[in-house]
């Protein structure tokens, strides 16, 4: 049969897959999951956060399989997530009970409970450390020993009830807590995002947004295409929160472990009218929280949460459809990459249209 179309698809795919498998290990070296968990924690955290799946082992496995590409690792984990029946929601967590490992405020110097710098690269000079090229078991052991020699005694109990900076602002009459909204939050992975969107839909979209996208839009918001000029970080916390589930055949909620989160409240000065209809200023907050230790993303999330609350369509970063429908990693990378698929028929259709315009003009 003289038929030759786009044949050979099957064989081409198999070869492409074989190349991927080969190139991942062609040097004879390979990463094991434990090494990834130990040495690439920020990447593991980024992938868990963007995947909406808190599991360090699976995230590390996804990173291994994806050869370190965050978009590919998130894709793998999100797809895996689709195979898991979801039976329960955890009980509401009060982040006031966070076991804090790092906590700073850029708004007040002396905060109740103190500033706790914790693990942070912020003040490290970013010189390439060429010693790491030749890192050995011995040099690693030395680093561990010298840290432990000087490490202070841990005070875990004192770190679980640290007051919130926002409470101080409220005491001063500069912030008014909104009325408690105890409605069951929407879950955009069970019922798709709809517009007008709810606050819980916005927060959920932002927290699972692609880090780069959330950071870039947050930056655009404060740089000049948004409504707020310069928010202040009221409080940034990194720490562990406990999770419990109700209704597993017991009266008491069932405790099933703790997860690490990053939480940010940013303060934004806002004009309001007081009781005498006089214009005055007060503070509003933007809120961010993410799985793992993801500071820049969480700050950007808090900026975008604030700007989206304002529902000011004139600014792109206050338009929920623009922001929330643009930041999902699986959606943006998927649709961009679909341009690689053949478009022969649609292109032929367009070609036909353009040619007939030209013919009419002749």
């Amino acid at each position: 049969m003289g038929y030759v179309a786009i044949k050979g698809g099957q064989a081409a795919i198999e070869e492409a897959n074989r190349l991927v498998d080969y190139h991942r290990v062609k040097s004879g070296r390979y990463l094991d999951v434990e090494t990834i968990k130990a040495g690439l924690k920020p990447l593991v955290d980024q992938v868990m956060s963007e995947s909406s799946l808190y599991d360090e082992d699976l995230a590390a496995l996804a990173i291994k399989q994806a050869e370190g590409s965050p978009e590919e690792a998130v894709f793998l984990l999100r797809a895996h997530r689709s195979t898991l029946p979801r039976m329960y929601y955890s009980e509401t967590v009060d982040t006031r009970n966070m076991r804090v490992m790092r906590r700073i405020s850029a708004s007040f110097k002396d905060i109740l409970g103190g500033q706790i710098l914790g693990k942070s690269q912020d003040f490290r000079h970013r010189f390439l450390d060429f010693d790491l090229v030749n890192e050995t078991d011995a040099t690693v052991a030395k680093t561990i020993a010298s840290f432990l020699d000087l490490a202070p005694e841990p005070e875990p109990l004192a770190l679980t009830a640290i007051p919130k900076v926002i409470d101080y602002l409220a005491q001063q009459g500069l912030y008014h807590y909104p009325p408690l909204d105890d409605a069951t939050p929407d879950d955009i992975t069970k019922k798709s995002l709809s517009f007008p969107s709810s606050r819980s839909q916005r927060l959920q979209s932002l927290t699972r947004g692609q880090s780069g996208a959330v950071i870039s839009l947050g930056y655009a918001e404060l740089r000049g295409f948004g409504i707020s000029n310069h928010p202040n970080i009221g409080e940034l916390r990194v720490g562990m929160i406990p999770l419990e589930v109700q209704g597993l055949g017991r009266e008491e909620p069932y405790y099933f472990g703790e997860i690490e989160v990053t939480e940010v409240e940013c303060f934004v000065a806002k004009e309001v009218k007081d009781e005498q209809q006089q214009v005055t200023k007060t503070f509003d907050i933007g809120y961010g929280i993410t799985f793992g230790h993801n500071e820049t993303k969480t700050i950007a999330m808090s900026i975008l949460d604030y700007s989206l609350e304002q529902n000011d369509k004139a600014h792109p970063t206050s338009n929920p459809e623009f922001v929330l429908l643009s930041i999902d990693s699986v959606e943006s990378t998927g649709f961009i990459s679909h341009l690689k698929l053949p478009h022969y028929v649609t292109f032929q259709s367009l070609l036909d249209g353009i040619r007939s315009i030209k013919e009419k003009k002749v």
Binding site: S82, T83, F195, E321, P342, S349, L350, L351
Partner: protein
């Protein structure tokens, strides 16, 4: 890597949820039913909406056909068919008549659908008004009011500029006199096939999280003006170089040596069937 997951990839509760959305879509022809689209093992924009429909519906008694731009052998069709087969061990076919479930991107097969057959179309942009109204909140209102003048206005503008109302694929249709619908980027040539067709047509948009449907025997009309009626791509004076067919959508193939164009039937399995039949006749 051997498949180790659930039948049809998705967990059973998710499949049930998707089937419920399908029922709603069938009950309201052309209406976009929002659904909690799951992330799939293939990328968003590569047919995840269609795939979720297929995997929620497929069972051991089915026979599945997958085509991409008219071809069963195109890489993405191969990839999707493989995924369906790996996760279900379902029988697959190239023949449109044999299939109970056909997943397609950008084409409706040349062989007309029969009762009992389901055609699943992959949809990139389910909102027919999106090119004229970027906001979802607004377009939902326009659908509720049946306010579609923007869509006609767009065609009117094309007529003013180019003296013709239909220019490319994905030409909007009015379903059952009520909902304006994006038929997915099928060529205009395929639009009339939707009208009163015998099979069930389901459309799935994974990234945009919408499911909609054209039930059997439903009126589907491509929108146009009385004095500028809807037209589809013409292949006047051209014929398939292998079969001589003239009543099918043709691919334009450029000979790299002579730089001249020739034409070939785009629906690959239909072409093969025709050629096979003639081969048989020739050799008795």
């Amino acid at each position: 890597m051997k498949y180790q997951g659930n039948y049809g990839f998705l967990d059973e509760l998710s499949k049930k949820e998707i089937r419920r959305s399908i029922l709603k879509a069938v009950a309201i022809p052309g209406y976009q039913v929002p659904f909690a689209s799951r992330e799939m093992p293939i990328a968003r924009g590569w047919g995840t909406g269609g795939l979720q429909l297929t995997l929620s519906l497929v069972g051991p008694q089915d026979c599945v056909k997958v085509i991409d731009q008219g071809s069963d052998e195109s890489v993405n069709a191969v990839s999707i068919r493989q995924l369906i087969q790996d996760t279900t061990q379902v029988e697959t076919t190239w023949h449109t008549r044999e299939a109970t479930l056909i997943q397609s991107r950008h084409r409706i097969p040349e062989v007309p659908l029969k009762e009992g057959q389901i055609l699943v179309l992959q949809v990139p942009i389910p909102e027919p008004l999106r090119s004229v109204e970027p906001s979802e909140e607004e377009t939902r209102k326009l659908h509720a009011y049946g306010e579609y003048s923007l869509a006609w206005l767009k065609i009117f503008e094309q007529i003013i500029k180019f003296d013709q109302g239909s220019l490319s694929a994905d030409h909007p249709v009015l379903v059952n006199h009520r909902y304006l619908m994006a038929p997915s980027p099928i060529p205009r040539f395929d639009n009339p096939k939707m009208n009163y067709n015998e099979g069930l047509i389901l459309l799935g948009a994974g990234r945009e999280k919408k499911i909609y449907a054209v039930p059997p025997y439903t009126e589907v009309k491509s929108i146009d003006f009385d004095d500028y009626p809807f037209t589809f791509e013409t292949f006047a004076g051209k014929a398939c170089r292998l079969s001589g067919l003239t009543d099918v959508f043709l691919d334009e193939i450029i000979d790299p040596k002579t730089q001249t164009a020739s034409y070939q039937t785009n629906d690959q399995s239909y072409l093969l069937e025709i050629l096979d039949e003639r081969e048989k006749e020739k050799h008795g």
